[in-house]
């Protein structure tokens, strides 16, 4: 277990060497492979460096990494689909779009470790094919970009969510129509008092999306007037200009909407929902302890066998914790190291043979 950490100096050099070899056209030899091994080690070390911890921690990260789930900063996931009868949300399982008032349920959970830095709150959906071709193309980007002509005459790609009762739908298309509309609220339970956690809803979308790609229609008057002549998507309870009270987060530039419009790559995905910022340096963002999650359950997933989750996660400068990268780098690194050693031995042996072969028989 006293595996030495990779020498920090080695991490930068080897790729240069490799590139150099490529440039020279000389084939890489076993030394290169060996160096690659060391290099991978370095990356692994970085990857597993938990924020705020000391170097001592990273030195054992080599062994720690495969069980990275034990890392206190691993995201916390709560499935609130409610398929199990015991679940508080079971009652909402077969909710429909237009049920009002919305079905609400509360899930209590305990945080074993505190989250020290900013916490990111995600919702996750499973078995939801946001990458289905019919779905992906069912949008009109020029409408979303504030083009007035497209607003009233959306693209054919939006079918069958293009018009409703002869009025153009804004925003049109299947993606917009199926926008996630559960409301999640987080409370800290401290001696039976529920303290709401401040959830920040801005800053969750790509800056370029929010400021360039998505634009409200242009013209005079408020948003309601600008969306005159259009109708809301069929499944939405309220029109697009009533998504939020703040004008810079309303209409097409509503960040929840923008996040939803970026279609996910895989049928199981998560999307950023809210941010929880660390308030001061004295307290962790979320202390260990009891919390409750209040859900306004509007979004039906049971009909297609889907699941819904809420995820809390912290993020390092490398992004969220990713077991894959760690494991992959370790595996590749070890293989390279192993091969490097083997080849080195062969090289030495062969070198000996080389000299003996020079003596002609």
């Amino acid at each position: 277990t006293e595996q030495a950490p990779a020498p920090p100096g080695d991490t930068g050099r080897p790729p240069d060497r490799m590139t150099q070899r490529l440039l020279e056209g000389t084939p890489p030899d076993h030394q290169t492979v060996l160096e690659m091994g060391f290099w991978s080690w370095g990356v692994v070390t970085l990857q597993n460096e938990c924020p705020g911890n000391t170097l001592a921690y990273s030195s054992i990260s080599f062994f720690y990494s495969p069980t990275v789930n034990d890392c206190p900063f691993f995201p916390l996931q709560i499935d609130y689909t409610g398929t199990e009868p015991s679940s508080p949300c079971n009652k909402c399982l077969n909710v429909s779009w237009d049920s009002s008032p919305p079905c609400t349920c509360t899930i209590n959970f305990t945080l074993e470790h505190s989250f020290e830095s900013n916490v990111f709150m995600y919702y996750g959906l499973s078995n939801f094919y946001q990458n289905h071709r019919r779905y992906v193309k069912s949008r009109d980007d020029s409408q979303l970009n504030g083009d007035n002509a497209s607003l009233l005459n959306p693209s054919k790609e939006c079918e069958p969510y293009r018009t409703n009762e002869d009025k153009p739908i804004a925003p049109c298309g299947a993606i917009a129509n199926s926008m996630f509309n559960d409301t999640l609220e987080l409370y800290r339970i401290d001696n039976d008092t529920r303290t709401p956690i401040t959830l920040i809803k801005k800053g969750i979308a790509w800056w370029t999306d929010k400021n360039v790609k998505f634009r409200n229609p242009t013209g005079d008057g408020n948003l309601t007037a600008l969306f005159q002549g259009t109708t809301k998507p069929v499944n939405w309870p309220k029109p697009v200009y009533m998504l939020d009270s703040e004008p810079d987060n309303n209409g097409f530039i509503n960040e929840d909407f923008i996040v939803w419009m970026r279609t996910a790559a895989l049928p199981t995905f998560r999307k950023l929902y809210r941010l929880i910022e660390r308030k001061n340096n004295l307290q962790p963002t979320l202390q260990a302890g009891k919390y409750s999650l209040d859900i306004a359950y509007n979004y039906p997933v049971h009909s297609f066998d889907g699941r819904k989750r809420m995820i809390l996660s912290t993020i390092s400068w490398m992004g969220g914790k990713n077991p894959f990268l760690g494991i992959a780098y370790i595996t590749v690194g070890s293989i390279c190291f192993f091969l490097g050693v083997v080849l080195l031995i062969i090289h030495h042996k062969y070198g000996n043979r080389n000299t003996s072969a020079d003596i002609p028989n």
């Binding site: 990857q47 790609e157 790559a265």
Partner: protein, 1139 residues
């Protein structure tokens, strides 16, 4: 029209063109039966001639394929006839018609690119042709019209019908003959003498020409350049019409250039597209390379992969959709139209959609790249300085670029001997007169017999015989004299004044030889041949007839009349064709010499003569003229007359002419052997001559066991066939049955075992190939073939040109269809050059037919070594790598897209953005492989040339067999899996960015694509062993371009796009550290097997090198043997190894 060909005042070569002209009678192709009649002069033809108006084409040469108007439709039509293009057109149409995942642009644009590039290339080539045509068509010629010369554009020359001006057979001014030199590119043999018809030579002015009335009858246009049959009938006002025969010597071909004549008048008989040159131009068939066959095989595999992928996806889609909430969940409803579509129809369109989605697996741009590679690559051969010959100031010539890689696959080399292995520069060595040997010139008037040498009986023949012999040498030839500058009559040093010109170097050697012994040929004037004898007296002989040389007869004769009125016939030719025609008792003593000389590798000719009586001559004269006049079966008739005439002659002696081996031909042959090629020498020479040449150039080693199937071993008797059968069985047993069964492993490494050489001659070959009807002999051919294939070297002597081609065809069609190469320099090699997979012409002394008909032409035989071992090897490796790489990069391109279907509900959602799909093959990954396939030298050129064994590494299409193909395919599949699942697992993460924001499906595809582009490009970088600045530029440039393009493409909201999918996707991707790490990791994993393989190979090679160091010493010492002229090593003729 009669026209005149002017020449520059300074007497240099003037170029002009003649449209082909003439003639009739048809021996030959059924299509062109009939004759054409051309009328010369103003006056109507006499009514007695049944004159049928014939239509002749105009004199415009059209070698271009397209015109401005029809270029587009015609070119498109031709391009879409190619299977691949048509396939992509269909895919494109499917995309337009059916609702498919990718826009029609993704396949339309590459197709458009491919079509455009090809169209531009073809358009350019056609423009060049137009230009060349115009140059020819607009060039000025002088036409005699109403006794005046009118300058006109050449395309106005007509073979007109209504009798005004007509064209030609040549009237030549001056001395009635001219030497014509091959004009740029299209040529007849180097220099030939053409003659005017005797009766027209007096017509030297425009007026005289204008007054001429004649008709010319000639064959309909035929492509055979060396044959022309026709006759001219000249009408004179108060005389009987005179008929004269016209032969090839009266016909000037288009593009010919006058050499020592200032101007000539001529009649055009064939014009425009009917000229012989034009007919030949069209007739060249396309040779296809074996690599293309491999490509097609691979294409079929990939087509199967494509179809099965589409089938699998379609099937799974419907299985998956059988669950209603998968088929149509509430969030993703179908349109009305979709719901109403028939299920079968939906399945069909789904299948087509998948096809479209995966169609990139069949590389669109490969064809273009392959074509560009071939086109550009062929320049390397013509640029090669080592193949530049100082003597003729020319380098190698590439006539077709389609066969470059074939040069690396050659298994059989068929080579001509004279002019190919040897220099074809003849030197008179010795002669024998009546059995007495004369060697070296001792220019004393009376004594030039040689006294040293192994011959026991030496002495002198009678003086008169000597003189007769020398006169024969001086008279019996077709040599011309070219006078250098101003001839002032002094002929003291003939070498300085004259140059002899002839189409056959032998003749020059003989004339020069005679000169050494005191008889100098001074030239031919007005049909009188002048010679100066030993006593410095002039002798004049009237030349009555020349019975031209032809390869079938293998002899030629002249009939002359001496000043005293004696009629003499001199004949010279191969011993086999002379001996049967002379008195038998004379043969023996000469035969000894001939055989000995032949054994020493000299070319021998026998000289015979006979005296004709006036009566005999008259008869011959009449027969000859009749035969020459014949429009039907002229050749047969001529042959018969020749046969009759050249009989009962008296043998005077024999000559020996040495043809020196070309420099390094022995080393070249040795290298070809070492490279695993089998070299066959096909020659028309005598067996003994050929055999010693073969020894000299090390085709046969002293250790080679020779098997002979010649007239000598088979015998002449009637038991020939039985004896042949016996021999064949014996050899067969020896070579095939007795050899241990290890041939599989040793397929091309016979160097280890006993080598066999086979000698066969023409007559035996025809016995084998065309056995008499009866019996057992039918499978001779098979047995013979088996024997041949077992022999390292085969010598076929006394071959007729057609037999050469027959042999080539026989080998070409054997099992496994080995790649054959023919190399030759003369017209008699053309048939085998055309027959073989690769035809190589030597730019030799025997004219340009061979190099014109060849695929490649080199100045010397020794250049074959570099051409095959270095260029061929490299071209093959390059193109093989190119092909494999193309399939590989498209497999790992499309495999992730296939895998993605499993995660998007088989909805045909493309993984990559349309721009990437489109640009991948045409921009991001095309240039590096093109540069690689042009410049790569995985082994240094010098090493390749020096170590012929390396050639065997790529033999049998080694790099395009199924094994390497599978390797590449698995590599592609492995990388595709790594790309996709690597990114898939990466996306399991909550967020890849440090601000918690998430990526969508387009980022997913972009990461995969980035890894893909970098991997395939770096893979190529790993494979590249020869880096030039160009490689660096295109490899790193492509990667930089990809990055630049991605930023650019994602940096703008494109108004013409329906969806802004890629907006800032690439930039966001790069802000994530995890993504960087993942990309680097995935590239490394993908390349890891490759790197590992290279490392292992390196280790293996190093250990091999040590072992080889010792082994190689042996062959090194062998090839270091200097190539002195072993011709003189008499030991070769000991025949110790002959069975």
């Amino acid at each position: 029209m009669v026209f005149k060909v002017p020449s520059n005042p300074n007497h240099s070569v003037s170029s002009f063109l003649f449209r082909r002209c003439a003639v009739a009678a048809c021996a030959g192709e059924e299509k062109r039966v009939g004759t054409r009649t051309v009328v010369v002069g103003h006056r109507p033809v006499s009514e007695t001639d049944a004159y049928v108006a014939q239509k002749f084409c105009d004199n415009r040469i059209v070698s271009s394929k397209y015109t401005l108007w029809n270029f587009l439709p015609k070119n498109l039509f031709e391009q879409f006839r190619r299977i691949a293009n048509f396939y992509f057109l269909i895919i494109f149409l499917v995309q337009v018609i059916v609702d498919t995942p990718t826009s029609p642009v993704t396949s339309g644009l590459p197709l458009f690119f491919v079509i455009t590039v090809t169209a531009i290339k073809q358009g350019y080539e056609d423009w060049l042709r137009h230009r060349a045509d115009n140059e020819v068509n607009k060039s000025n010629v002088f036409i005699v019209e109403n006794a005046k010369q009118v300058q006109k554009e050449s395309e106005k020359i007509k073979v007109t019908v209504n009798g005004e001006v007509r064209l030609l057979s040549l009237k030549l001014v001056g001395r009635g003959r001219c030497v014509v030199r091959a004009g740029g590119g299209m040529s007849c043999p180097g220099e030939l003498t053409h003659y005017a018809v005797r009766d027209t030579t007096v017509l030297c002015t425009d007026e005289a020409i204008d007054a001429l009335t004649a008709t010319i009858e000639c064959e309909q246009p035929q492509p055979d350049l060396y044959k022309f049959v026709g006759r001219i009938i000249i009408y004179r006002s108060n005389q009987e019409p005179v008929a004269r025969s016209l032969g090839p010597e009266n016909l000037l071909l288009k593009g010919a250039t006058l050499k020592n004549t200032k101007k000539i008048y001529g009649v055009a008989v064939y014009t425009g597209m009917e000229t012989k040159m034009a007919l030949n131009y069209q007739g060249k068939s396309q040779k296809r390379s074996a690599v293309e066959k491999s490509i097609n095989a691979f294409l079929i595999v990939y087509l199967c992969i494509l179809l099965s992928k589409a089938t699998v996806c379609t099937t799974l889609k419907y299985v998956w959709q059988s669950n209603p909430f998968n088929d149509e969940p509430w969030y993703n409803e179908k349109t009305k139209k979709e719901r109403e579509t028939f299920k079968v129809l939906r399945m069909f369109t789904d299948f087509l959609s998948f096809m479209v989605l995966f169609n990139f697996i069949i590389p669109v741009s490969m064809y273009v790249t392959v074509e560009m590679q071939k086109f550009l690559g062929s320049f390397f051969i013509s640029w090669d300085k080592e193949m530049y010959d100082e003597e003729i100031k020319e380098g190698a010539l590439v006539n077709t670029s389609d066969l470059n890689e074939e040069l690396g696959q050659v298994e059989y080399v068929f080579t001509d001997k004279t002019g190919t292995l040897t220099e074809n520069s003849m030197e008179f060595i010795e002669c024998c007169i009546d059995g007495h040997k004369y060697k070296d010139c001792i220019s004393e008037v009376d004594g030039f017999s040689q006294t040293d040498g192994p011959l026991k009986y030496y002495g002198k023949a009678e003086k008169s015989r000597e003189e007769l012999f020398l006169r024969a040498l001086c008279l019996c030839h077709t040599v011309q004299i070219k006078e250098a500058d101003q001839v002032d009559g002094l002929i003291g040093h003939p070498e300085h004044r004259y140059t002899y010109i002839s189409s056959s170097p032998d003749e020059i050697a003989l004339v020069k030889g005679a000169e050494k012994y005191g008889f100098t040929f001074l030239g031919l004037e007005n049909n009188f041949m002048k010679i100066r004898n030993q006593k410095n007296e002039m002798e004049t002989y009237q030349l009555l007839h020349v019975l031209n040389f032809d390869p079938v007869r293998r002899r030629m004769s002249v009939i002359v009349r001496t000043t005293t009125g004696k009629l003499l016939l001199f004949c010279k030719g191969a011993d086999s064709s002379i001996f049967p025609r002379v008195q038998q008792e004379e043969i023996q003593q000469t035969k000894v010499h001939v055989d000995r000389n032949a054994m020493d590798g000299y070319r021998t000719l026998c000289v015979a003569f006979k005296e004709l009586t006036q009566k005999e001559y008259d008869k011959i004269d009449r027969q000859l003229n009749e035969a020459k006049m014949a429009l039907q079966d002229r050749e047969e008739k001529m042959a018969k007359v020749f046969e009759d005439t050249e009989a009962d002659m008296h043998l005077i002696g024999a000559t020996a002419v040495e043809d020196r081996l070309q420099e390094q031909s022995a080393e070249t042959i040795e290298a070809l052997h070492a490279a695993g090629m089998k070299v066959w020498v096909l020659t028309g020479d005598k067996m003994e001559t050929a055999k010693s040449t073969c020894y000299a150039c090390r085709l046969f080693q002293t250790s080679t066991e020779l098997l002979e199937l010649t007239a000598k071993t088979v015998g002449e008797s009637e038991r020939k066939e039985d004896r042949l059968h016996e021999l064949l069985m014996e050899y067969h047993k020896k070579l095939i049955q007795d050899v241990p069964k290890n041939r599989g492993g040793l397929k091309r490494s016979w160097t280890l075992s006993q080598e066999y050489g086979l000698i066969i001659d023409g007559s035996t070959l025809s016995l084998i190939l065309n056995p008499s009807q009866d019996s057992s002999s039918s499978n001779y051919k098979n047995i013979f073939l088996q024997i041949c294939l077992k022999c390292t070297a085969v010598l076929c002597c006394r071959m007729a040109p057609l037999q050469k081609a027959q042999i080539v065809r026989m080998v070409k069609n054997t099992k496994g269809s080995p790649i054959t190469l023919s190399i030759g320099d003369g017209a008699n090699d053309v048939s085998m050059i055309l027959e073989a997979h690769v035809g190589i012409g030597i730019k030799g002394k025997e004219g340009r037919q061979a190099s014109r008909n060849s695929d490649y032409a080199v100045p010397k035989f020794k250049h074959l070594r570099k051409l095959l071992l270095a260029h061929g090897h490299l071209y093959y490796v390059r193109i093989a790598h190119l092909v494999q790489y193309f399939f590989y990069k498209n497999l790992c391109f499309i495999l992730p897209q296939f895998l993605y279907q499993f995660f998007c509900g088989f909805s045909q959602q493309p993984l990559y953005d349309a721009a990437y799909l489109t640009m991948y093959n045409i921009c991001f990954t095309s240039l590096p492989i093109l540069a690689y396939s042009l410049l790569e030298q995985h082994i240094n050129i010098d090493t390749l040339t020096a170590d012929p064994q390396l050639y065997m590494k790529v033999s049998d299409n080694a790099m395009l067999q199924w094994k390497p193909f599978l390797y590449w395919t698995f590599l592609g599949a492995f990388e595709g899996l790594v790309f996709f699942f690597g990114v898939y697992f990466l996306f399991q993460n909550s967020s890849l960015e440090d601000n918690g924001k998430v990526f969508g499906n387009w980022t997913f595809g972009t990461i995969v694509f980035t890894v893909l582009v970098f991997t395939v490009t770096l893979k190529l970088a790993l494979d590249t062993r020869f880096w030039t600045w160009m490689n660096h530029f295109v490899i790193w440039g492509s990667l930089a371009f990809y990055v630049f393009f991605s930023f650019f493409w994602g940096g703008v909201i494109w108004p013409f796009l329906k969806q802004q999918r890629m907006y800032f996707v690439f930039a966001h991707m790069l802000t994530s550290v995890s993504t960087w790490l993942a990309i680097i990791l995935l590239i490394f994993i993908s390349l890891f097997p490759e790197i590992l393989l290279i490392v292992l190979k390196n280790i293996k090679e190093k250990s091999h090198q040590v072992r080889n160091k010792i082994i190689r010493k042996v062959p090194d010492s062998l090839s270091a043997r200097p190539s002195v002229r072993p011709l003189l090593l008499r030991t070769f003729s000991d025949e110790s190894n002959v069975l």
